[in-house]
Symmetry: C2
């Protein structure tokens, strides 16, 4: 049976990963959108299994020790990670899986699951990235500068990915991801099974 | 400057390469559609530079000796081939190039230009392929059987290609090639130049 494909969507903060995915996902209700696990406390309105899988720290660390994450990281004393089992089950069942993660996490998945398709979302210009980061308003100017610096560092890693998608408009970028998914479906390594089963 | 991409569309006789390309080409007037050279005499209505480049045998053989073809073959005493210079000039000028050739020719281009994108067009079923070959009417039953045998042999080579496209409908298959072209455009090996020039 056809195995599912793991798509990892990543990119610097402010590139618009979330917006692009919000355009893309409703067109693919059959895909499995993987949710992160975290040890941080739920914020008001956040539901377990919808926004995050909320976990106790001991549980998280035990799972991590048992190689139970595709990737994991620690921010401000809280742990975040992508539980491996849920993703692997879907892939084995032939479902395509979409993962939205930070650049460092994506680099870990390249190690743990190199068969994945890695898509790097970039802003059209650095001015636009600054504009988007400033637009969040919640951030102090010094935080914006730090994020821009970090974005530049992360952009240098773009060539490690399979594809680079410029997010000049979320709709257009989502269409590009659709084209990528359609093309990847037809890669001969995958489609040769069709030839063997139906034509030989 | 961005270099053009060479797309080689191939597949067994009767798979419908020509029909798919007729759907695809008008949507991409900027692409260069490469025409074969041949030593056979023009048939009524065939124009030099439109259907083929008609060449004298000596001229063809001299060009072939000087490594002037991306691929070449001999059928029934006539020579056919894809002149290299016209294709290379377009690629260097940043134009995408489309080449429609037989399977043996495509295998030669894989050797001479491995950076190409190789698309293999297959029929949805062998019954459909037989139906299409019989529909040509001009063929004797024994010729149809021979072509089916040859198609089976060629289908075994499908995994050497980059992509496999099932031609269940020419329109849908052309859309799949469009998706492939859009995806290939975004391959990080190509798109990283955009990142370097605009964001770093």
């Amino acid at each position: 049976m056809r195995k599912g494909i793991l798509y990892v969507v990543s990119g610097p903060s402010g590139a618009g990963k979330g917006t692009v995915i919000k355009e893309f996902l409703p067109r693919h209700p059959d895909w499995f959108y993987s949710i992160s696990a975290t040890t941080r406390a739920p914020r008001p309105g956040e539901e377990n299994g919808v926004h995050y899988y909320f976990m106790e720290k001991e549980e998280f660390l035990r799972l991590r020790e048992n190689d139970g994450f595709l990737e994991s990281a620690e921010f401000c004393g809280n742990h975040y990670g992508t539980p491996k089992a849920a993703v692997m089950e879907r892939l084995e069942a032939g479902k395509d899986v979409l993962l939205e993660i930070e650049v460092q996490g994506a680099m870990q998945v390249m190690e743990s699951y190199p068969e994945g398709i890695f898509i790097f979302i970039v802003p059209p210009t650095m001015e636009e990235l600054r504009h988007r980061l400033e637009g969040r308003k919640t951030e102090e100017p010094s935080v914006v500068e730090k994020r821009l610096e970090r974005a530049k560092e992360e952009l240098r890693l773009a060539d490690k990915y399979t594809y680079i998608v410029v997010n000049d408009s979320a709709d257009r970028a989502a269409e590009e991801i659709e084209a990528i998914a359609l093309a990847e479906e037809g890669r001969s390594a995958r489609k040769f099974d069709f030839v063997k089963e139906n034509l030989l």
